[in-house]
Amino acid sequence: MSLLEIEGLEVRHRGQPIVAGVDLAVEPGEALGLAGESGCGKTTTALAIMKLLPPALEPSGTITLRPPGTDEPVRIDRRTERGMQLVRWRHVSLVFQGAMNALDPVQRVDRQILEAIRLHEPRAGKLGGRIKELLNTVGLTSAHGRAYPHQLSGGQRQRAMIALALACRPALVIADEPTTALDVIMQAQVLELLERLRTELGLALILISHDLAVLAEACDRLAVMYAGRIVESGPAEQVFRAPQHPYTKRLLDSLPVIGGARGVADPIPGTPPDPHDPPEGCTFRPRCPYAADVCLEEPALREVASGQRAACHFAPWEPESWAVRRPGGTP
């Protein structure tokens, strides 16, 4: 049984879908990577799981959470605000995008961790030891806990945020761009930390990033989003080595390769479609070098290799066909 199951998630803004037909499942202890460029619906999906969408966005579809130790599955989409308060952080916590701003500037870090625990375990006794342990888990000391957020460095704040996310021992942690504002060294350390915590604490992780290389390394499975839809999903290694959707392929090509030939990065031309004026057929069609007439029909997400699904009429792609298949060809 999956820990989290999302079926047919759709989020609309003024009637237009921002996220459309997203199906996702996260197994206990699994790391799922959610990739895609800015505005593709990654964060919206994350907020929908926490039921924290701003009022202008209307979600539909089912989101089911099965917290370990309880028989009753939690239907997040049906929960009331009051009911969600019991689920948030207790079962699912969120490491915010730009964690530095997600800490209250006028409260010491340990107070904020204490706040999280007290909200869900109001009758808990002394928590000093548990907070110290949490801080140690992420490589901080009690002295860091006594500091105000502005007295910590960016990396330390990110760690404090992760300690906060672990405070109530949730089964699932969603990390939204946890490394974006950090330098490369800190990025590696934070990713290593998340990886270690996952194996040690057995928690499931949804890692959201625009950086496919980071995700491929840290995750078991990958889902690539484009314009609010999942265009490709599958085992991380497989998706990274043999992408089956032109968007994934182009995303990988746009990454600079360390130690590779020095050249110009190969960006994807154009911009993501306006959700209020979506293109006909495949949403990637206007930017796709392989687009053909058949792409005017919306492709379904289907299995194209073992465990790997892609929404492209031309899939499965052979490694050599990326170079061979000319723009405008037939499938």
């Binding site: 924290l52 308060q85 952080w89 997600a102 209250d104 706040e115």
Partner: protein
């Protein structure tokens, strides 16, 4: 706070405030004579026996001045605290929830801002029996609207900050978020505003007392001026009766106001000088 005290104006205002607070606490002890005791020295000018002269019933003006400080300061601060509590509560709740709550509070604020404060206070004080508590309540209840406005504006920006969203993700209720996250972050602004209200409240107390709406039992600077006026002190040339309390009010209000402005300059981003 430290930045305020680093300036000369800050040191001055803080010094004056500290002096008046000291007088308010110990005024009755350091007063040379019983402020109510009458004598045959009626409306005498300043002399060695009466440093600031005497009143129309022969009481010592200096003693009255020292004792009267307490009422002026207590009323000023207590009314300001009431006004801050109401203003902060209405500003936070309205700003946080928005919608019709906000509009309702906004109309209430408009109402209080538009109605001239002094006549409203006069009417309220007249309706109720004059006492210290009534005076404090009347001033406090009529002066919160400005604080409410400023706090609301601050809350509108605070509630969009990431840590408030995080608090909601923690599973916190609206009440918890307002109490634990919004209020502490708005506190410096509320404090600065309250100090400014203290100045207004001291003036209001003096004004009400001068109009004879003060507590008849107690001596305050306002009631001293009123008594002096009734006794014809100004026309009799007895300046020592009305000028000292007037000067004290002016000096205290000036110091409180200056301190408040300096503090507000530190905490209100819109008033910060560009460097």
């Amino acid at each position: 706070m430290r930045a305020v005290l680093a300036t000369r104006r800050g040191k001055f205002s803080f010094g004056v405030l500290a002096l008046f607070l000291f007088i308010a606490v110990f005024g009755a002890l350091i007063a040379p004579q019983d402020p109510r005791a009458s004598s045959t020295d009626v409306l005498e000018g300043p002399s060695a026996a009466h440093l600031l002269g005497t009143t129309e019933v022969g009481s010592d003006v200096l003693s009255q001045l020292l004792v009267g400080a307490r009422v002026s300061i207590v009323v000023g601060f207590a009314a300001a605290v009431i006004s801050a509590v109401i203003g902060a509560a209405i500003g936070i709740v309205g700003g946080y929830f928005g919608g019709w709550t906000d509009r309702a509070f906004d109309s209430l604020e408009n109402w209080f801002l538009v109605i001239p404060q002094l006549p409203l206070m006069v009417v309220l004080a007249r309706l109720l029996d004059p006492s210290l508590t009534v005076l404090i309540a009347v001033i406090g209840l009529t002066s919160w609207a400005g604080t409410g406005r400023i706090v609301r504006a601050q809350v509108l920006t605070l509630k969009e900050r990431a840590f408030v969203e995080r608090a909601r993700a923690l599973g916190a209720s609206d009440r918890h978020i307002m109490r634990v996250h919004i209020l502490p972050n708005a506190l410096p602004l509320i404090f600065a505003n309250t100090v400014l209200i203290v100045a207004v409240a001291i003036l209001a107390e003096a004004a009400l007392a001068f109009l004879g709406l003060g507590d008849p039992e107690s001596i305050s600077w306002g009631s001293m001026i009123e008594q002096g006026f009734e006794a014809g002190a100004p026309s009799a040339g007895a300046w020592w009766y009305v000028v000292p309390p007037g000067l004290c009010i002016a000096l205290l209000v000036f110091a409180v106001g200056l301190f408040g402005y300096l503090f507000e300059q530190q905490v209100n981003p819109r008033l910060q000088e560009r460097t």
